[in-house]
């Protein structure tokens, strides 16, 4: 959104209506904020009243018109559903996902028709159910709600989140195939509707959900076809970028796509260009390490990892270290891999509350013990 949305002049009309705060979740000085307002995924957009209480929460990216609608939401609840939605947003903001889902359900059940906040409530409900690992209810409710939000921008996240939940159900679950098929059809319907204003990231998210679904159904042929379509779509989106920042936002997904289609070498020129144009950014060398690892060029991967480690900070450093350990393992150097994971454990424990994750530390320690 930084590269595309906040740069839009039409948003200037909101300038005096809010205090605008940008929080880099990787920066240690934001740890206290992150402890107070846990962030499950990026971007998360919040509106806080002057006393700091959450009055609006939206997890996901937004286009300019979508953001305008979120900013236009009245901070004063007019009907019971509005009040319940604020309660749900606050529970979600406290990472009480199951309780938040119940509150979102109550808000939707008591909503007038039409209700301008239905789309956001439906997206938030499916996301909270997914975060609470209630996959069956997530898929079922997404399918039910899809008919209410059909044709709107919210239908994309409702259908795709529901589809990912359905694809995550146990293979023996009696409703799994039925839910996957129905939500796949809903996702394709969104995908093919030119009247729904989808941003490129919305569309990329739909591709990922559709690919997950085909993988869950063991449909290798269709999965591979979708992966190639996704890669071509991202290349095209990057080619339309007008600034360096806009072009670089596609690097991560383009790298993932090039790896899954079995052509990691395709990402090298793009990442080398990004490293040259953004020399202070740790992302291009961190991504080059992944690309070279996939190409089995381990010495080049370690050299890129060295460059990334010299610049990386915050929780992301853990991922750079675990990738480095994977490169050592692939290279056959188990000792160096173990030392690198030990380094990752030590670093993870050094992060301040708000950035420190006990689950992440436990996962790393488990891995270290198994080495």
């Amino acid at each position: 959104m930084r590269a595309y949305v906040y740069t839009d002049k039409s948003l200037e009309r909101y300038a005096g209506r809010f205090v605008w705060l940008s929080i880099n979740t990787e920066d240690a000085k934001n740890a206290a904020f992150l402890k107070k307002y846990p962030i499950p995924a990026l971007p998360t957009l919040l509106v806080l009243d002057p006393q700091g209480a959450v009055t609006m929460r939206y997890v996901g990216g937004a286009t300019v018109p979508h953001l305008s609608r979120l900013l236009d939401e009245s901070p004063r609840p007019k009907v019971d559903a509005d009040k319940l939605l604020v309660t749900a947003d606050r529970l979600a903001s406290d990472a009480k996902h199951a309780d938040a889902a119940k509150a979102y359900d109550s808000a939707i059940a008591s909503a007038p028709k039409p209700w301008s906040k239905l789309g956001r409530a439906a997206e938030s409900l499916t996301f909270s159910l997914a975060m609470a690992n209630e996959d069956e209810r997530c898929a079922t409710r997404a399918l039910e709600l899809y008919s209410s939000v059909k044709g709107t921008v919210s239908s994309a996240n409702v259908a795709a989140t529901g589809l990912s939940c359905a694809a995550g159900l146990d293979e023996k679950h009696p409703k799994r195939n039925e839910l996957v098929t129905a939500l796949e059809n809903a996702t394709l319907e969104v995908f093919r509707n030119p009247k729904i204003e989808l941003s490129d990231d919305d569309r990329s998210g739909l591709y990922l959900a559709l690919i997950d679904a085909r993988e869950a159904m063991n449909d290798e042929k269709r999965k591979t076809k979708l992966q190639h379509e996704w890669a071509a779509f991202l290349d095209d989106a990057a080619a339309r970028a007008k600034t360096l920042a806009q072009r670089m936002v596609y690097d991560s997904h383009r790298l993932s796509a090039s790896i899954v289609i079995g052509a990691p070498e395709k990402a090298i020129p793009m990442l080398e260009l990004s490293e040259r144009d953004a020399p202070d950014d740790y992302n291009p060398p961190a991504r080059l390490a992944l690309a070279y690892k996939a190409m089995k060029e381990y010495d080049k991967a370690l050299a890129a990892s060295d460059r990334a480690l010299a610049k990386v900070y915050g929780p992301r450093k853990i991922l750079v270290l675990t990738t480095r350990a994977d490169i050592y393992l692939a290279k056959g150097d188990a000792k160096a891999a173990k030392e690198t994971i030990a380094q990752a454990v030590e670093y993870a424990k050094s992060l301040p509350p708000g950035q420190r994750s006990e689950a992440r530390i436990a996962g790393l320690e488990k891995r270290l013990a198994s080495m």
Binding site: M1, R2, A3, Y4, V5, Y6, T7, D8, K9, S10, E12, Y14, F18, V19, W20, L21, S22, N24, T25, E26, N30, I39, A41, L42, P43, L45, L46, V47, P50, G52, T55, V59, G60, G61, T63, V64, P65, L71, A130, N157, S164, G168, S199, D200, D201, D202, S204, G205, L208, A209, A237, K242, Q246, V249, S252, H253, D281, N283, G314, R316
Partner: protein, 60 residues
């Protein structure tokens, strides 16, 4: 963070809307964001009695 969140949301940090209203020619924000200083934003919100819009992001 589960895969679902990664698939749908981490990617969403690059929401594009190139075809709508004109962007700033220099690629800078049309809004004056306070960077990484919640205390400053909270004090300003209280003084002006207006809400805070928070964008959370990461450089990856």
């Amino acid at each position: 963070m589960r895969r679902l969140a990664l698939a749908l949301l981490v990617a969403a940090s690059w929401t594009a809307d190139v075809s709508s209203a004109p962007a700033q020619a220099d690629g800078t924000s049309a809004l004056r964001f306070i960077e990484d200083d919640y205390a400053k934003a909270a004090a300003r919100a209280k003084a002006k009695n207006i809400p805070i819009f928070v964008e959370t992001w990461a450089p990856w």
